[in-house]
Amino acid sequence: MNWMPLASLALVLLLAPLLPGVATRTRAFLTGRRGAPVHQLYSDLAKLWRKGVVYSNSTTWIFRMAPVAVVVTAMLAACLLPLDGREAVVSFSGDLIAFASLLALGRFALVLAGLDTGSSFEGMGASREVTFASFAEPALFLCFIALVRATGSLSLGGMLGGPLTNAWPAAAPSLLMVGAALFAVLLAENSRVPVDDPATHLELTMIHEVIILDHSGPDLALILYGSALKLALFGALLVGVLVPRAHLPAAAALALLAAGLLAVAALVGVVESAMARLRLDRVPQFLVAASALAFFAVVLLLW
C-alpha cells in the first residue's frame, strides 16, 4: 500500500481552511491593515459546528442535503487529483471528467438549495453562479485538452504526473498559458476578486455569499469548509501543472505541495488588493479571455 496519495490527501483536507485566511491576511497586509488571524476559518468552523440551525419555512430536504453534497463531492474530487504530483487515491482513464462533474454536482446542489428558500436574493446569486460557471467550464476543459495533448494521457495521474514532467521542456509556453488560464478559472470558481468579492456587504452584488444566506450552524460550516476545499483543489491543480514533482522524493513533493498552496493563496490575496472586482457584465469577458488563452495553448500543441 502506497501511503503517499493518502498522506497528501490528508494534508490538503487539513490545510484547506488555512488558504482563505492566508488570502485575507495578504490582502490586509498589502492594504496596510492588520487583518484577521490566518487560522480564523478554523475557529469559525469550530464555533459554527457547535451552534444550532434555523431552517426557512419554505425549504425542503434538498436544502439540508446540499451542504453535505458540497463537501462530499469536493472530497471525492480530491481523491481523483494526484496531489503529490505522482498518483491519485483513485485513478482511471477519463477521471478528469469525473473531477469536473463532481464539482458541478456540488454546484448544482448548492444552487438548488439557494432556490429552495424562495428568496429573490438567493435566486439572483444562483443565476449568477450558473452563468459564470458556464463560462468557466469550457476554459477548464480547454486547459485539460492542452494537458491531454501535451502528455498523451487521459487520466489526471498522467496529466499531472510523470508524463507532464517529460513534456515540460518541449511544451513550456503552452503550459505557462495553461497555468495562467487555470488561475483565472480558480478565481472564478472560488468566487474571488475580480469575479466576486468575498468581503462585500451588499447582497445585491454578491454571488457565492448570497446563495448561502439562509444556511446556518453546522450546515454553514460544511459549506464554508467545502468552499475552502475547492480553493485548495484548484490550487493543487495549478501547482500540479506548474511544479511537476514526479522526480522528487516523497517528502519534498509534499512540502512543495504545501508551499505551493500557500503561495497560490497569497497570490489570490495580491490580486484582491491590486484590483477591484469587475462589473457583472464584464465577468464573462474575463472568462472568455481565460478560455482564449487556454485555446491558444491548445493550438500551439496541436500545431
Binding site: G52, I62, G94, V148, F295
Partner: protein, 648 residues
C-alpha cells in the same frame, strides 16, 4: 425471431383490448415488450443474429427482418420506453378524457410501438420504408390527439410536412443506392457499397438530410419542439426517447452498410453535433413552456450523440479503431441513456401538467412539498441529463469525452476533433443552468400562482413507470460495466473492426467504467451516511423561520426570482443567437422565445412557396374545356420536342 413476433402480437392485442379495459392494455403491452426483448437480450449477450425472411412477389427482393447487435440495442430502447409509456398513459389519459378517446390513443400507441420495432429490425429497404411511413402516420395521429386546439393542429401539420420530406429523401436514397444493387435487401445494398460513385456521397448526403430531419439536428429541428409540446406527455416521452432515435439508428445503419465514410461526412457530423448541442441547450434556456424546454433538450442531446458518431466516423476514416469504437460506443450508450432520462423527465412533466393544468413554468413553484415523489424522480432525471454522477448521463458523456480526447492524442487531421471537447463542456454547463432553472422554479420555493397551491401527488399508475426509469438510470450509473461493455461491442460492430481490432481498449474502458461506478457508489454512500448523521443530530431541535429577506419583513411568492430572470444573464451574453424577443414597459418585463430557424428560415420559405403558388392560380379555372386545351397543348409540345430531338 418467434418471441419477437409473439411480443408484437401481444402489443397489438393490448391495443385492441384498450377499449375494454385499461388494465388489460397495460398488462398485455408490458408483457409483449418483455417477451419481444428476449431475442434482443440474447443477441446482445453474444448470441447469433436472428433473421426472418418473407418471400413477396414485389420488386426489391424478399422482405427480411433481422436482429443484429445494433438492431437489438435499439429494440431494447423501443420496448423499454414503450412499456413505461403504455403503463403511464392509462393513468395519465384516464383522469382527463372520456374512455373511448383514451382507448383510441392507446390503440395508436400500440401501433406506433409495433412500427418502431419494425423500423429498427427491417433488413430490406421496402419493409423499412413501409414501417417508417406507418410510424410517421401513427405519430401524426397521436400528436393531434387534442385536435380541438388550433396550435396542436398546426404542430401536427408541420410534423406531417417534415416527415414526408424525410421519407421522400429516403426514397431517393434507396433509389440511388438500389440502382447499383441487384435487389433492395440490406445485404445486397452493403455488397453494392464499394461501387457507389464518389464513395457514396449522394447516399451519405441524403441520409444526413433524411435522418437528421427525423432526429432533429439543428437546423432541421424546427418541427420537434412544436410536435413534442403538442402531444400527450407519455407520447412526447416516446417521441423524444425513441422516435427521434430512429434517425440516429438510420445514420448508424447506413454507415454500417457502407463500411465507412469519407472525411467530409465525419467532420460535417461533428460540426452539426457542436451546433445542435450548443444551440439546443441555449434555446432550451429561453423557454417558459416545460415541455418545449424538454424538447429543446432533446435537440441538445442529439447533438451530443452526433459528436459521438462524428468521432466514430472520423476514427474509421483515419484508421484509428480505438477512436472509432469509443465514438460509436459513446453515441449508442448516450442514445439509450437519453431515452431513459428524457422519457423520465417527460413523464414527470406530464405529472406536473396534470396536477396543475399548466405548462407555463412561471406560474408554478413549491411543488416539491406537494408532489414529493414526482419531484424525486424529476430531480433524478435532471441530474442524469446534466451528465452528473451518480446517474447514467455521466457514463455516456464520459465515454464520448474520451472518444474526442483520444483523437487529440493522435497525429494527423483527426487530432482537431479534440476541440469539440470544449463545446461539450459548454453544453454540460448550460444544461446545468437550465435544469437548475427548471427544478428551482417548478418544484422549489413557494407556489407563484393558484394552480400550484392546489397540486396533489400523481397517482400510483404514473409513479410506478417513473421509478422504474429512475432505477434503470441508477443501474447504468452505478454499475456501468455492463452497459459500457455492450455499447463497446456495438461500437466495434459499426466501426467494422471487431472487438479485437481495438486492442486492449475495450477491456480498459470497462474497467475504468467500473472504477467510475465505484466513485459514484461512494458518492451516494457518503452523502447518505453524512446526511443520516446530520439528521440524527438535528432531530432534537429544529426551529423554523421565514426565509431571510435581507431586512425586508414582507415577502410575496411573486417576488421570487422567475425563470426569465434566472436565465436572463446567460441569454444576454448570447443574445444574437438566443432568439429571444424582449418586451419592456413601465410595469412589465416579458421575454418571448422564438425559434430562429422556424421564424427566420422555414416560415419565410413556406410563405414564398405559397406566394408562388398563388401566382400560378389563374391557370386553374376549374373549367373543363380549358383543361382539355392544356392536354392538347402538352401533347403538341411533346410531339414537337420529340421531332426536334430526332432531327438532331
Amino acid at each position: 425471431m418467434s418471441p419477437f413476433f409473439l411480443g408484437l402480437g401481444l402489443i397489438l392485442g393490448g391495443g385492441l383490448a384498450a377499449a375494454r379495459s385499461g388494465t388489460l392494455f397495460r398488462f398485455l403491452v408490458a408483457v409483449g415488450c418483455v417477451v419481444g426483448s428476449v431475442p434482443a437480450f440474447a443477441v446482445l449477450a453474444g448470441g447469433a443474429p436472428r433473421r426472418a425472411s418473407v418471400p413477396v412477389h414485389l420488386p426489391g427482393g424478399p422482405w427480411v427482418l433481422g436482429i443484429d447487435a445494433l438492431s437489438a440495442w435499439f429494440l431494447l430502447i423501443v420496448f423499454g420506453v414503450g412499456a413505461a409509456g403504455a403503463l403511464y398513459g392509462v393513468s395519465y389519459l384516464g383522469r382527463w378524457h372520456d374512455r373511448a378517446r383514451a382507448a383510441r390513443a392507446h390503440l395508436l400507441l400500440s401501433f406506433l410501438l409495433i412500427s418502431l420495432a419494425l423500423v429498427v429490425t427491417a433488413a430490406a429497404a421496402l419493409p423499412f420504408l413501409m414501417a417508417w411511413e406507418l410510424m410517421a402516420i401513427w405519430a401524426y395521429l397521436l400528436i393531434v390527439y387534442e385536435s380541438e386546439k388550433p396550435d396542436v393542429r398546426q404542430a401536427g401539420l408541420l410534423y406531417l410536412i417534415v416527415t414526408h420530406t424525410a421519407t421522400l429523401a429516403l426514397f431517393a436514397l434507396f433509389a440511388v443506392w438500389g440502382a447499383q444493387a441487384h435487389d433492395l435487401t440490406f445485404d445486397a445494398l452493403a455488397a453494392a457499397a464499394p461501387v457507389l460513385p464518389g464513395q457514396g456521397a449522394a447516399v451519405l448526403t441524403l441520409a444526413l438530410f433524411a435522418f437528421g430531419l427525423k432526429a432533429g439536428v439543428v437546423p432541421l429541428h424546427f418541427w420537434l419542439p412544436e410536435a413534442h409540446a403538442a402531444a400527450p406527455s407519455h407520447v412526447s416521452a416516446l417521441f423524444s426517447g425513441v422516435m427521434i432515435k430512429t434517425g440516429i439508428y438510420g445514420l448508424l445503419r447506413v454507415l454500417l452498410l457502407l463500411g465507412g465514410a469519407p472525411a467530409w461526412w465525419g467532420w460535417t457530423i461533428l460540426c452539426l453535433g457542436v451546433v445542435s448541442g450548443v444551440l439546443g441547450v441555449l434555446w432550451a434556456l429561453t423557454q417558459h413552456d416545460l415541455k418545449r424546454l424538454l424538447a429543446y433538450h432533446s435537440v441538445e442531446n442529439i447533438g451530443i450523440i452526433m459528436l459521438g458518431i462524428g468521432a466514430g466516423a472520423l476514427g474509421m476514416t483515419y484508421h484509428q479503431p480505438v477512436v472509432a469504437v469509443l465514438g460509436f460506443a459513446g453515441a449508442t450508450l448516450h442514445t439509450l441513456n437519453h431515452a431513459l432520462f428524457k422519457s423520465l423527465l417527460f413523464l414527470g412533466a406530464g405529472a406536473v401538467v396534470q396536477a396543475t393544468g399548466t405548462r407555463d413554468i412561471e406560474r408554478l413553484g413549491g411543488l416539491a412539498k406537494r408532489m414529493p415523489l414526482t419531484w424525486a424522480a424529476f430531480l433524478a432525471g435532471s441530474v442524469a441529463i446534466v451528465g452528473l454522477p451518480p446517474l447514467n448521463g455521466f457514463v455516456s458523456e464520459w465515454v464520448t469525452y474520451q472518444a474526442l480526447l483520444a483523437g487529440g492524442t493522435l497525429d494527423g487531421p483527426i487530432r482537431l476533433q479534440v476541440l469539440a471537447v470544449a463545446a461539450l463542456a459548454l453544453v454540460g454547463a448550460l444544461a446545468l443552468a437550465c435544469f437548475a432553472k427548471v427544478c428551482g422554479v417548478v418544484f422549489l420555493g413557494q407556489p407563484r400562482m393558484p394552480e400550484a397551491w392546489s397540486a396533489a401527488e400523481a397517482d400510483r399508475g404514473m409513479l410506478v413507470p417513473l421509478f422504474l426509469l429512475v432505477l434503470a438510470c441508477a443501474y447504468i450509473g452505478l454499475v456501468p460495466a455492463v452497459a459500457v461493455g455492450a455499447s463497446v461491442r456495438i461500437g466495434a460492430a459499426v466501426a467494422n473492426v471487431g472487438v479485437a481490432g481495438a486492442g486492449a481498449m475495450p477491456r480498459h474502458l470497462v474497467a475504468a467504467a467500473q472504477a467510475a461506478g465505484w466513485v459514484s457508489a461512494g458518492l451516494v454512500l457518503l452523502v447518505a451516511l453524512v446526511a443520516l448523521g446530520r439528521s440524527r443530530r438535528r432531530a432534537r431541535r429544529r426551529p423554523r423561520q421565514p426565509t431571510w429577506r435581507c431586512g425586508y419583513a414582507y415577502g410575496e411568492p411573486r417576488m421570487q426570482y422567475t425563470a426569465s430572470s434566472f436565465a436572463a444573464p446567460l441569454i444576454a451574453a448570447y443574445h444574437p443567437i438566443a432568439g429571444v424577443r424582449v418586451e419592456r414597459s413601465r410595469s412589465a418585463f416579458r421575454s418571448h422565445p422564438t425559434d430562429l430557424v422556424l421564424e427566420g428560415g422555414v416560415r419565410p420559405l413556406w410563405h414564398g412557396l405559397r406566394w408562388t403558388a398563388e401566382r400560378l392560380r389563374p391557370i386553374q379555372q376549374g373549367r373543363l374545356p380549358l383543361y382539355l386545351l392544356y392536354v392538347v397543348a402538352t401533347v403538341i409540345l411533346l410531339l414537337l420536342l420529340s421531332c426536334t430531338g430526332r432531327a438532331a
